[in-house]
Amino acid sequence: MGDLALLQSMVKVNDTWLDYFIIAVYFVFVLGIGYVLRTKMQTSEDYFLSGRSLPSWITGLAFLGANLGALEIMGMAAGAAEYGIMQSHYYWIGAIPAMVFVALFMIPFYYASRVHSVPGFLKLRYNEATRGFNAALFAIFMILLSGINMYAMALVFQLLLGWSLTASILLSAVIVLGYVVLGGLSSSIYNEVLQFFLITLGLLPLVVFGLIDAGGLSGLQESVGKAEYFHVWANTGSTDNPFAVQWFYIVFGLGLVQSFGYWCTDFLVVQRALAAEDLAASQRTPLIAAFPKLLYGVLAIFPGLIVLSVLPKVASEDPNNAVPYLMAHYFPTGMLGFGLTALLAAFMSGMAGNVTAFNTVWTYDIYKPYINSDASDRHYLNVGRIATVVGVLLSIGTAYIALNFVTIMDYVQVLHGMFLAPLFGTFLLGMFWTRTTGWGGFTGLVAGTGTGLTMYLISLDAGLGASMARALWAWIVTLVVTIVVSLVTQPKPESELRGLVWGLTEQKEGVEEAWYKKPWVLAVIVLTITVALNIYFW
């Protein structure tokens, strides 16, 4: 937690109406578009997927916007202040390969089966129990994640207004609720695309000014004074590196299990691709998002390195706040209002994204199948709205859970290891092995989730290395249990698996004539740049 006097001495926000004006303009726009759109969202398909009518550049930027929350902005900079540029593994090896995989292999399945959600896919491929278990877990997961965004939003308000953290959290809750009640969620794709531009235009000058100030990359290296903070792979043959893990855990724990688990199964992001106008545009969505994601390996990480150089006290005492402090350091009034608006936009839309996902899962995968299965479309829309309000209220509680972890980054990786790694195992087997049975999937998922949870409760180790290892084990247990149980239970007939399993699906190719829009062309380009970046920062 930050020293309030330090914050106030560094931030001159209180001096000017201009910064407040900029923040106010943002809220007027966001609430205005929500109000206008609310009348146009007529069916639940409209509400959740914008009618599947968007071109890929929009869904691509929304896909990344949905991913750019508190973790990506506050958490990654905090991580970089602690581990140096190795933190960019969470972008390059920990995101790009998985995004390419999602584009080439996962999207066609989701698109063809027309499911609203991951639990929907699980029901078709496995059984009702698997879907129910996953839906319940996912709803909890979303609320736990939503708390981080609320906490981050409160940090910004605390900085702006000088209020206590509790008062700032309550203010954030009121604002997010107001946003939702006034129709903000019907415009979440609009705001995710907007947020991409705001965050990019807010972080880019921070990195540029910081580098100018420090005298370029070599000047920054010199003033930070830790050579190991500027290498991503050096010394990963041993544990003598800032992460204190070997390359094996980075490649398999992070690059394979955690990363693929997140990008393949977190339908908060997958849903954005499904809003695209056709299959080709859907497939292109994660690939278009991958290019700016590469850039964020620099934009989100470097503020953490710059803070080490110019504000070392902040880096050691309150790394979560590195980005807002740096903004206060470099941006004059006007720019500062814009920078803080970009942060608020990210956290608010991140939270709206979590809450939308929560209400979709609650409405379509819990309420509709188990509680009230034959009501009107309008009824389910209202149930979704109520779920949203409840979700915001529950997030106040989870904000305090997030607050108990050393950094936001640690908290999120603990959650990913438990919730997403087992799910990824279940998916992999379901998609590539026809023999996987419904109960095999169910027991594997339960066993894997139980493994992750038990390992965490025994050690209570929230370090990044521990989370990578936990994810790997939870995933392996899921695979083993699923395979064993599948071999002794009755497989589903092939006719039921068509369109759900690789090899039993007639691959419908997206019609795409322009060569530069073909998925594999984009995939090769983005992977080549990834390799080049890893070599450059070796």
Partner: protein, 101 residues
Amino acid sequence: MTEEHRETEHHEYGEEERVPEHSGTNHSMAIGFYIAALLLIFGVTIVLAGIISPAQATTGGLGFNVNLWWGLVMVVSGCVILGMTLASPRRRAARQREDGV
């Protein structure tokens, strides 16, 4: 809703029929205008702040007018998005169909 909004999205590949299943709002153009407008308002505001009080001191002062220059970058970004939205093939297609009717 304006006439333009009522146009159903035109599918880029004529040979394939699309099942209309949404309200027909042209979200892609609306998103372009929305973002361009906000970036232009922010950019112009920050440029004005830079011109009116160029000597804004910050602890990490860099020796140039940060508001003015970054405000200009934002104005240019807003103009580019506006231009792309206005020139988008979808908009042209919509207009052509309107002319045809």
